[in-house]
C-alpha cells in the first residue's frame, strides 16, 4: 500500500505529460490547416479548374393546403444557393419564402405559393437557382396534407392502436395454449419469433437504406443508418444485461426478461412501422384503406406470439404484466403514426428504421442464446430450424397483405 502511495505522484506527473502529448497532433493539425488555408487556392491552380457546383436544391417536402403549395428546400452543397424562380407545372408563379432566399450549406427554407391545384392530379414543382439551374419534383397525385387537429390526432392514434396494440395483445392470448405445449413445440415457437424478427430487421434495413438514398448526399445517410443500428443494438445489449442482473442470473436472460426484450424490440419496430404508415398517408403516397389496416393487423398478430413464446416456459405472469408488455410492443406505433403524420422528416425516418434494425437483431441474438440453453437439441434441432423458417414464411405471406 505504501508502495502504491509512493508511486502516485510520479504517475500523476506522467499523466500530465501524456495529456499534453495527446494534444500535440491537434495543435499540429491546426497549424497545418492554417498554412493550407493561407495558400490553399494555389492547389487548384496546380491541378486545374474545379468543376462548378451543381446548384441544385434538395426538395425535402411538398405539402398542399387549399389554395396553397409549400416546398421545403435544403441547400445540399458547400457553396451558397439562392432561390431565383419557382415554377408549378412549368409555369412561373409568384411566391414568398419563409426564411432567407439565400441558403448556406445544409440550410433550409420553405417556399409558399398561392396556387389553386387540382385535387388528385399529378403536379410538378420546380425551384430554379439564381444561376438558372432548375430542380424539379414530381408529385404523383396532389392531395391535401393532413394538418394537426384534434380529429386527425385521434385518427392517427386509432391507426397506431389498430396496427400496434390490438394484434400484439391478441397474439399474447396464445400464451395459455403455449403453456400446454411441450419443449419441442416451445423451441419451435421461440425459433419462429427469431425468424420473424430477422424478417422485420431486414425489412426495416431495406426501408432505412431506401429512405437514406433520397437524402442529400451531405447528410451521409449510410452513416446515419449505421449509427442507428449500432446505438439500438448496443443499447438493448446493455438493457438485457441489466434485466438479467435484476433477475439475479449469472448468464443469460430469464423468461420474463427475454419477453420484455422481445417486446422492446418489436416496439421499436412498430415505431418505425407507425411512422411509415403515418408519413406515407400524410404525403399522399398511401391510400389508407380498410384492407391495409386489416393487413397490418394480421401481419402483426405474430408479434404477440413472439412475446408469448418465451413466457410459456417461466413462472405464471400477472395479467398486468402482460398488458404492460403489449403496450411496450404496440403503443410505439401510435407515437410513430403521430410523428410520421405531423412532423414528416426524412432524417428522423431513417434513424427510426435503423433503430428498429439494431433492436430486432439484438433480440434475435438473445432469443438464439435462450434457445441454445433451453431447447432440446439446441440450435440445430429440426424443431428450431423449422420454426425459424416458418417465422420468415409467416411474415412473408402476411406481408403480401400490405405490400
Amino acid at each position: 500500500m505504501s508502495d502504491v502511495e509512493a508511486r502516485e505522484p510520479a504517475e500523476r506527473e506522467w499523466w500530465r505529460q501524456s495529456r499534453l502529448l495527446a494534444l500535440l497532433p491537434i495543435i499540429l493539425l491546426v497549424a497545418a490547416v492554417s498554412v493550407f488555408a493561407a495558400t490553399g487556392t494555389s492547389l487548384t491552380g496546380l491541378i486545374g479548374h474545379t468543376a462548378p457546383p451543381a446548384d441544385e436544391f434538395a426538395i425535402r417536402r411538398v405539402t398542399f393546403k387549399p389554395g396553397e403549395i409549400k416546398i421545403r428546400v435544403t441547400n445540399p452543397q458547400r457553396t451558397d444557393l439562392t432561390i431565383g424562380s419557382v415554377t408549378v407545372d412549368d409555369a412561373i408563379v409568384p411566391y414568398h419564402v419563409d426564411g432567407p432566399t439565400t441558403l448556406g450549406r445544409l440550410r433550409s427554407a420553405t417556399i409558399v405559393i398561392p396556387y389553386d391545384w387540382v385535387e388528385e392530379d399529378p403536379i410538378s414543382v420546380g425551384v430554379t437557382s439564381s444561376t438558372g439551374i432548375q430542380t424539379t419534383e414530381e408529385i404523383a397525385a396532389a392531395v391535401e396534407t393532413p394538418s394537426a387537429s384534434g380529429r386527425s390526432f385521434l385518427g392517427y392514434a386509432l391507426i397506431g392502436f389498430l396496427v400496434g396494440i390490438v394484434p400484439v395483445a391478441l397474439g399474447l392470448l396464445w400464451l395459455p395454449s403455449l403453456r400446454r405445449a411441450d419443449q419441442n413445440w416451445l423451441a419451435a415457437f421461440m425459433a419462429l419469433t427469431a425468424g420473424l424478427l430477422t424478417f422485420l430487421a431486414l425489412d426495416a434495413l431495406s426501408e432505412a437504406l431506401s429512405l437514406q438514398a433520397a437524402l442529400p448526399e451531405s447528410f451521409q445517410g449510410v452513416g446515419l443508418v449505421l449509427l442507428g443500428v449500432a446505438a439500438s443494438y448496443l443499447g438493448l445489449t446493455f438493457l438485457s444485461r441489466r434485466l438479467s442482473v435484476r433477475e439475479g442470473r449469472e448468464r443469460g436472460l430469464g423468461a420474463l426478461g427475454l419477453a420484455t426484450l422481445v417486446a422492446v424490440g418489436i416496439g421499436l419496430h412498430n415505431l418505425g412501422e407507425g411512422l411509415a404508415i403515418g408519413s406515407s398517408f400524410a404525403l399522399g403516397e398511401l391510400t389508407l384503406g380498410t384492407f391495409l389496416i386489416v393487413g397490418f393487423m394480421i401481419h402483426n398478430l405474430t408479434e404477440g406470439l413472439g412475446i408469448a413464446a418465451p413466457l410459456a416456459e417461466g413462472a405464471a405472469v400477472r395479467t398486468a404484466r402482460l398488458v404492460v408488455l403489449a403496450l411496450v410492443a404496440g403503443a410505439p406505433a401510435i407515437g410513430g403514426a403521430w410523428i410520421g403524420g405531423f412532423l414528416v422528416n426524412d432524417v428522423v425516418g431513417v434513424l427510426f428504421f435503423a433503430i428498429a434494425v439494431g433492436a430486432a437483431l439484438q433480440v434475435v441474438v438473445e432469443v438464439g442464446r435462450f434457445i441454445m440453453r433451453r431447447a432440446p437439441g439446441g440450435l440445430g434441432s429440426g424443431w428450431v430450424i423449422g420454426g425459424f423458417l416458418a417465422g420468415i414464411v409467416v411474415m412473408f405471406v402476411t406481408g403480401l397483405l400490405v405490400a
Binding site: 387549399p66 389554395g67 396553397e68 439562392t82 432561390i83 431565383g84 424562380s85 415554377t87 412549368d90 409555369a91 412561373i92 408563379v93 409568384p94 432566399t101 398561392p114 396556387y115 389553386d116 385535387e119 430554379t128 437557382s129 439564381s130 444561376t131 438558372g132 439551374i133 432548375q134 391535401e144 385518427g155 386509432l158 389498430l162 390490438v166 391478441l170 397474439g171 392470448l173 396464445w174 395459455p176 395454449s177 400446454r180 405445449a181 411441450d182 413445440w185 389508407l288 384503406g289 380498410t290 389496416i293 386489416v294 393487423m297 394480421i298 398478430l301 404477440g304
Partner: protein, 340 residues
C-alpha cells in the same frame, strides 16, 4: 402427450382470430366515416379559397406583383427602333457591334451566362433604308469565335458563314441594304444551336423606298433561355427579361397606328407565336410586300418574321402573349396600355 388437442386449448388458440372480426369491422366503419367527412370539408375549403386567390391567378398577374427583373425604360432601346430615314441610294449607314460575354438577369432573380451583341440579348436594332450602303464593324470581345449572318440579299463573302471572327479580331460587313422588310441577324459560328441559344441575334429592319405610313413603331424579338443547359428553354421572353412588359405595359394611343416589327429567334422549340387580346391586326409576312392577313394570332418558326399593324379600337389594358400557354407562363406575356 402435450400434442393432445383439448377443447380448451382450441378455444384459447382461436380467440385472437375470432376477436379480430369485430375489431376489423369497427375499423372499416370508422374509416368510411372519416373519409366521407374529409372529402366534404376539403371541397368546401377549395371553393372558398379559389375565390379568395382569384386575384393571384396568372392571367391577372400585373404591375408590381409580376416577377420581372429590371426597371421601367430599361428596354427602350430594344423596343423603340431608330427612326426610318428617307430613301437616298448610296448613303452609308454605319453600325458597331461587339460580341460581349455577360451575365444577364433573364427572369427575376435568375441570371444567364449570355453571349451578346453589345451587352443585350437580343442585340441592338439595325435599321437602314433600301439602297443604303450598310457598314457593320464587328469586334469579337468574347472568348469563342463568332460571326454576324444577316438575312437579306448580299454577296457570299458578306454572309457571316465562312469569315469566322476569332476572339479579339474584327471584321467589317459591307453590303447594300435590300430587299425592304423585317429581317434579322445572328451569329453563324458552330455549334450554331449554342451560339443562337446563348443570345447572339437581333432585329434588322430595311425600310422601303416609299416610306411606310407614320406610326408608333415597336420591335419585338421573341426568344428563350436554357439556363440549366438541358436543351430546353427555362424562360421565354420578348426582348430579354421574362414578364417585363407585364410589369411595365407598353403605352400606345388609340387612333394612332401601332407597327410592330416582330421576329422569332427562339432556339430548341419548333415554333413561337404572337397573339393579341381584344383586337385584330394586319400581318405582313417578312414585311416585304403589301400582302397581309387580318388576324389576331400569327405563328413563327425560328427565323420567321414580319410586320404587325394594329389600329386599337378600344382603350384599356390588352394582353399580348405567345399562344403556347407554356411559353406564356414562362415569361412571354405582356400588356398594351391603350389610352386616348
Amino acid at each position: 402427450m402435450a400434442r393432445r388437442v383439448s377443447r380448451k386449448k382450441l378455444l384459447a388458440g382461436t380467440a385472437p382470430v375470432v376477436a379480430a372480426f369485430p375489431l376489423a369491422k369497427l375499423a372499416m366503419s370508422d374509416q368510411a366515416t372519416a373519409e366521407a367527412g374529409m372529402n366534404h370539408s376539403s371541397h368546401a375549403a377549395m371553393g372558398h379559397t379559389s375565390m379568395e386567390h382569384a386575384a393571384m391567378g396568372h392571367a391577372a398577374m400585373i404591375g408590381a406583383d409580376v416577377p420581372a427583373p429590371g426597371r421601367a425604360g430599361d428596354l427602350d432601346k430594344l423596343l423603340y427602333p431608330p427612326p426610318a430615314l428617307p430613301a437616298r441610294p448610296g448613303r452609308v449607314r454605319e453600325y458597331r457591334l461587339t460580341a460581349i460575354d455577360t451575365e444577364l438577369e433573364v427572369a427575376q432573380g435568375v441570371t444567364f451566362a449570355a453571349w451578346t451583341y453589345n451587352g443585350t440579348a437580343p442585340g441592338p436594332v439595325i435599321r437602314a433604308t433600301e439602297g443604303d450602303l450598310l457598314r457593320v464593324r464587328f469586334t469579337n470581345g468574347g472568348v469563342h469565335p463568332h460571326t454576324i449572318h444577316f438575312h437579306g440579299i448580299h454577296p457570299a463573302n458578306m454572309d457571316g458563314v465562312f469569315e469566322v471572327v476569332g476572339p479579339g479580331d474584327s471584321f467589317t460587313y459591307e453590303f447594300e441594304a435590300r430587299p425592304y422588310g423585317m429581317h434579322l441577324y445572328h451569329c453563324h459560328a458552330t455549334p450554331l444551336k449554342k451560339h443562337i441559344a446563348k443570345g447572339l441575334y437581333g432585329a434588322f429592319i430595311i425600310d422601303p423606298p416609299e416610306p411606310r405610313a407614320p406610326a408608333q413603331e415597336l420591335v419585338m424579338v421573341l426568344n428563350g433561355y436554357d439556363t440549366d443547359g438541358d436543351g430546353e428553354n427555362n424562360f421565354y421572353t420578348v426582348n430579354g427579361p421574362a414578364f417585363y412588359y407585364a410589369k411595365y405595359p407598353i403605352r400606345v394611343r388609340r387612333g394612332k397606328l401601332v407597327r410592330i416589327y416582330i421576329a422569332n429567334l427562339t432556339e430548341f422549340d419548333l415554333i413561337n407565336s404572337f397573339h393579341l387580346h381584344g383586337d385584330f391586326f394586319r400581318y405582313y409576312p417578312t414585311g416585304s410586300s403589301d400582302q397581309f392577313e387580318y388576324t389576331d394570332t400569327v405563328m413563327l418558326c425560328q427565323g420567321q418574321r414580319g410586320i404587325i399593324e394594329i389600329d386599337f379600337q378600344n382603350t384599356g389594358r390588352f394582353m399580348f402573349h405567345a399562344h403556347q400557354s407554356e411559353f406564356t407562363e414562362l415569361g412571354w406575356m405582356g400588356f398594351f396600355e391603350v389610352v386616348d
